[in-house]
Symmetry: C2
Subunit: 408 residues, 2 copies
Amino acid sequence: MSLASVATTVGGGRSRAAGTGKIFTKSGDNYLMGMPVPDVSESDRVHVLLMEQGAIVWKPMRDSYSVTVDSPKKEKKFNGLKSFIAYQLTPSFNNIPVARRYKHFDWLHERLVEKFCLIPIPPLPDKQISGRYDEEFVEHRRVQLQEFVDWMCRHPVLSTCGVWMHFLTCTDEKKWKTGKRTAEKDPLVGTMFCASVFPPEKTLLQSLVEPQVDAATQFVPQMDTAVKTLFAICGDQSKKFQQQWKKEYQRIGEGFSEMARALAVDERRAATQISLASSVGQAAGVFINIGQLFGEQPKHDFIPFSDRLHIYRGLLAAWPDTLGEYRNAVQKRKECERLTAEQKMENGQLQEVNRRVDVMSYALLAEMSHFREERDTHLKDTIRNFIGAQIDFYKSIVQKLEQAQTHF
Amino acid sequence: MSLASVATTVGGGRSRAAGTGKIFTKSGDNYLMGMPVPDVSESDRVHVLLMEQGAIVWKPMRDSYSVTVDSPKKEKKFNGLKSFIAYQLTPSFNNIPVARRYKHFDWLHERLVEKFCLIPIPPLPDKQISGRYDEEFVEHRRVQLQEFVDWMCRHPVLSTCGVWMHFLTCTDEKKWKTGKRTAEKDPLVGTMFCASVFPPEKTLLQSLVEPQVDAATQFVPQMDTAVKTLFAICGDQSKKFQQQWKKEYQRIGEGFSEMARALAVDERRAATQISLASSVGQAAGVFINIGQLFGEQPKHDFIPFSDRLHIYRGLLAAWPDTLGEYRNAVQKRKECERLTAEQKMENGQLQEVNRRVDVMSYALLAEMSHFREERDTHLKDTIRNFIGAQIDFYKSIVQKLEQAQTHF
């Protein structure tokens, strides 16, 4: 019995995984079930390292780089009949800008999701139908694309993969199309991506992997809920700052302004040296000003925070599938063990399945390490920036109020 | 024709004033129309001074004093069948506390309004039926009564008048009742109060009085609107701080708290030195704390501000009547001038009317000076305190956020 036919026999693994609510739309179990793997060129190989303290990580990038997403300009094609927004991407390693539209990002994203079954891909900004050329929208999308690009650049595997490099560097229209076709025909997609993973020699103990996967399985939905809650709060607060709170401080300002006008009427008659009307007028101005601060504030705290949370939201949504791929593989191995015990499978074949499950486990643990590391720096950074922006905001309110105070 | 009968003839003045929406419920035109005035003892006399720069003021108090309204205790009478709240009032001039209930204040207020037709009386806190023994309500009412008492103490005329002194000092039940009866039978009420006003000798030029009255007539409704607007804002903001804003900051805190719990799940497995879970947990605590600050803040800014505005609201509501009394007097004088020209009134009688209108004008201008002076100190103080409390509030938010910041 060939492994390929076993793939059909033990297909139950998939339906069991589906029982957790996840559906495998990738290349299925081809890799695990011993489909012959194509040659993987050196540049496409992905290495997993076993560190001294037992940590399992992706081989770090040799040369880290960054890519800036620049202020887009509206471009036209078909003699101006169709207009679109093209963002300028400039990688630090060659400094040659490329123009990419949202639909190119979308195409890239599809390729990445298809290819990296064990690596959650950061999400793109949401699609939007109306108001696509609105300046504020375009600028905000630029920031969101920058977040996506930053995450890609920081990832040891994603940052070096072919389709991403093609996306970042190709300036020739013809080569662009050829590259697209190549990417779309990439055989190393889904679990077959694991054929390009080169893990340490050491066999993995299941007792090492399982607890980590269990923790992640518990962590992901909890974190997902927390991120969604905070994301919703950010949206809600942004609106409230921009509308309600802004208006309410302005109302206070208008109240004072009304009082100042009333006082001015009476002061015209009185010989008062100190004009209370003018003091109250100053206070009015300050409160109206504070209202404006409220209106502008979300740009500095809640919106950047929610842009970051959007990335986590997308990644956390992808993690259950990733964990599901692993559980599926483990399930398959169990069934192969049974088949071997029943002498329906050869021992050598089982050993090959074991090896491949190990490759997947190594990849999963490496990705979990990476995600955890990112969290500990990037998420920390995110919260620090959020709190920092709030500090600046409340400090500037204090400053404005102190300015008003001097008039009393 | 006697002046008393003229009072009936020229009664039109009253209905004209009524046309402005104000009704005279006081003693009407008795004073102006030459009703014989009773003897006024030295202690009951009120002096108006003409200052060097032409300012017309009440003779300043010889000895200024203050009265503290102290934490009330619930008392019982009729063998505990009836319970009530008695506030302790302690004047600084004798340090002897007296116990006064709201209904005593109410009685006092009625006497003051009745007596001082040209002096707006500060309002009492609003009556309240339910929750009268609620601790927070009682304490807030104490603060409001303190505001009323403070205003009374600062007023050169009100602070020395008999009924107020009786209210402040009488500790004997029997004397209290006698004093009450005396006050209720006071003949010097309404315009007749002017019989106790001793102005400068100098005849007043109408051209000096009219523009000030005009300015006040314009000022009062405008200021009234402004005060009402700010008063409404204070009430609205108090509620929003105590409920909505408090809840929203707590929601942010809960979002972070949820995130901290999720991170903790994963960190149990990971060998991270820095615990992001604990940092995020700290931030959560800080935001929940800030929520509490929001909830408590109105006590420090919007509520004290609105208590002050309540005083102005009451005074401004009384001013149109006060100004109406003056306009009424001027109208009467005009009609008397006509009657004299038609030889229906003797010149001597007209001169007496003129003198009495002058007394009223002097009293009005003195009160206007006092009100303006109060405004320039007391209102200024009020706004400074309000802004100061807001500064402290936002500073403490900054402090809390900086505390959270140290964890990132």
